[in-house]
């Protein structure tokens, strides 16, 4: 344990999503969760391992695209930056309900769209 390569960590991250679980990277020693960009613990240099997140979090920020950069993405669509309750932040898709998407600051819960694409919806 503890010495997963970057590639193994990234593949395991996608694999967990296929199983319906959003996960984050955590120090194999005692430092806890780390930023998603880390591939070694930024505090102690130990390796990282995957941990399952609760799926709960809040919207740190959001952007709504109106310019079509990718023909598969129908505009307008909203991209969220979600802060998981465990601490790490990541980009994810937004679930629109009643014509509204989660706002900055609102509590959200992870859910999977088709093809295991991670999205978040407002907790009511």
């Amino acid at each position: 344990m503890g010495n997963k390569t970057s590639r193994e960590l990234e593949e395991a991250f996608y694999q967990s999503l296929n199983e319906g679980v959003v996960s984050y990277f955590s120090c194999t020693d005692l430092c806890g969760p780390v930023d998603y960009t880390a591939r070694l613990c930024p505090k102690c240099g130990s390796g990282l391992e995957l941990k399952a997140a609760s799926g709960r979090g809040h919207v740190h920020s959001a952007v709504t695209y109106h310019t079509q950069y990718n023909e598969n993405m129908k505009t307008p669509y909203t991209v969220l930056m979600v802060e998981l309750e465990e601490g790490p932040r990541l980009i994810a898709s937004a679930i629109s309900e009643n014509n509204s998407v989660p706002e900055v600051g609102s509590e959200v819960m992870a859910t999977m769209k088709a093809d295991s694409v991670l999205a978040f919806k407002t907790v009511r």
């Binding site: 970057s6 990234e10 991250f13 996608y14 969760p33 780390v34 930023d35 998603y36 960009t37 591939r39 930024p42 740190h60 920020s61 959001a62 952007v63 709504t64 695209y65 109106h66 310019t67 950069y69 990718n70 993405m73 307008p76 669509y77 991209v79 930056m81 802060e83 601490g87 790490p88 932040r89 990541l90 980009i91 994810a92 898709s93 900055v104 600051g105 694409v117 991670l118």
Partner: protein, 394 residues
């Protein structure tokens, strides 16, 4: 860090035609042209140049602007040749490394050049900002969610600032309007028509909260400057532009609970270092030229420099402080939004113009001390510089 002060001087500047049309010339050819014009502007000969620093857009591969530019331009026997790849902070970084090299005796006259052709036959330059921006480092992650470009990253940051501090769309408009008012006075600017409220708010959304006039105006071209020793500059062809302060700041704030990388940037460290090396502070400034590829990036720079308190830049801009006639002129050539987008060279070009006193209708009343900034990445890589027409500041 200890510098001899002034740290150096900028004695020459060369600019190709800037254009919205697809360029007949390659980036490499434009760089050569800007270099040769800068040498001529300085009243130097090609053989006087002994250092060359290159900077290309971070979206272009290295062969776009190779070190062979030296041979293309016919600069022989250089003692300094390199490429700086610090994105939007590169222009000031090049001037900083050139200054240090000159102080150390490594070179005497160093050319620093940026060249780019983002506007092609089929696209208007918006693709400059369309690369997928990796925030997690997990391959394909951001693209899967349609998170593209610097536009998205800066829009996220602006939305965060709005949430934390109550910054509004009216504040973004006030910033774009201030830039445009300066551009209306500048013969170098591309967008010179009045920007009414209606023009701003009826323009299309790019990535909310950004509308069209929150985004830079890309052009094709190149700009080069010649850096020389401070004492060499006083008797040269052009009025000297003394460099008194330089600083970099790269904060690496994590995307993690408790941190706010969107609203706290390394620009604060860069500016503090530049102020310290120059021995001046914010109230001494007569004008500022900040890197503002988006309205919000310019606004954030103003807070981090210390023109106003954190979170208060919206009202600060709306009160007109930065516009013509305001207390601290900012982006007097219209900046990236209304002037032209030549990455880090846009604010450098305007600062040199102001210090020389060549601003024409847009010339600021107090050009004694100016602050210039550059930034790249997702509010990550920063550099700042203090310039003046005077060899002694106090």
């Amino acid at each position: 860090m200890s510098y001899k002060r002034p740290v150096a001087a900028i004695c020459g500047m060369g600019k190709t035609d800037l254009s919205r049309k697809p360029s007949k010339h390659s980036v490499r050819e434009l760089a050569v042209q800007a270099c040769l014009r800068a040498v001529e502007d300085a009243g130097l000969k090609k053989d006087d140049i002994d250092g060359l620093m290159l900077n290309r857009s971070p979206l272009e591969p290295s062969e776009t602007l190779p070190m062979h530019v030296q041979r293309d331009a016919g600069f022989k026997d250089l003692s300094l040749l390199t490429s700086v790849e610090a994105e939007g902070s590169s222009a000031i970084q090049m001037i900083q490394y050139a200054s240090l090299a000159i102080q150390a005796g490594m070179a005497k006259n160093v050319l620093c050049v940026f060249a780019d052709c983002p506007v092609g036959a089929t696209q208007g330059g918006g693709a400059t900002f369309a690369m997928s921006m990796e925030l997690t480092g997990i391959p394909g992650w951001e693209a899967q969610h349609g998170f593209y470009g610097a536009t998205g990253a800066y829009a996220l940051a602006a939305a965060r600032h709005m949430h934390l501090y109550g910054t509004t769309h009216d504040h973004l408009y006030a910033y774009a309007r201030s830039s445009r008012e300066w551009a209306q006075l500048s013969s170098d600017a591309f967008l010179r028509k009045e920007l009414t409220r209606d023009d701003y708010f009826s323009a299309r959304w790019i990535a909310e909260p950004f509308r069209m006039f929150d985004c830079a105006f890309p052009v094709n071209g190149a700009i080069a400057v010649v850096v020389t020793a401070a004492d060499a500059a006083k008797d040269m062809k052009q009025p000297p532009v003394y460099v008194h302060g330089l600083g970099q700041g790269h904060a690496a704030v994590p995307n993690f609970a408790g941190f706010e990388p969107e609203v706290n940037s390394g620009a604060e460290i860069a500016a503090k270092t530049a102020f310290k090396t120059a021995g001046v502070s914010v109230p001494d400034l007569g004008f500022c030229e900040v890197y503002d590829a988006f309205s919000f990036s310019g606004m954030l720079a103003m807070e981090d420099i210390g023109l106003c308190k954190k979170g208060e830049v919206g009202p600060f801009v709306a009160e007109g402080h930065t516009a013509p006639g305001g207390s601290i002129p900012v982006n007097t050539g219209g900046g990236h939004l209304s002037g032209f987008y030549m990455q880090g060279m846009t604010p450098v070009h305007e600062a040199i113009t102001q210090v020389r006193g060549f601003g024409g209708d847009r010339q600021v009343a107090k050009n004694d001390i100016g602050l210039v900034t550059g930034s790249g990445g997702r509010m990550e890589f920063h550099a700042a510089m203090i310039v003046s027409p005077h060899a002694k500041l106090n």
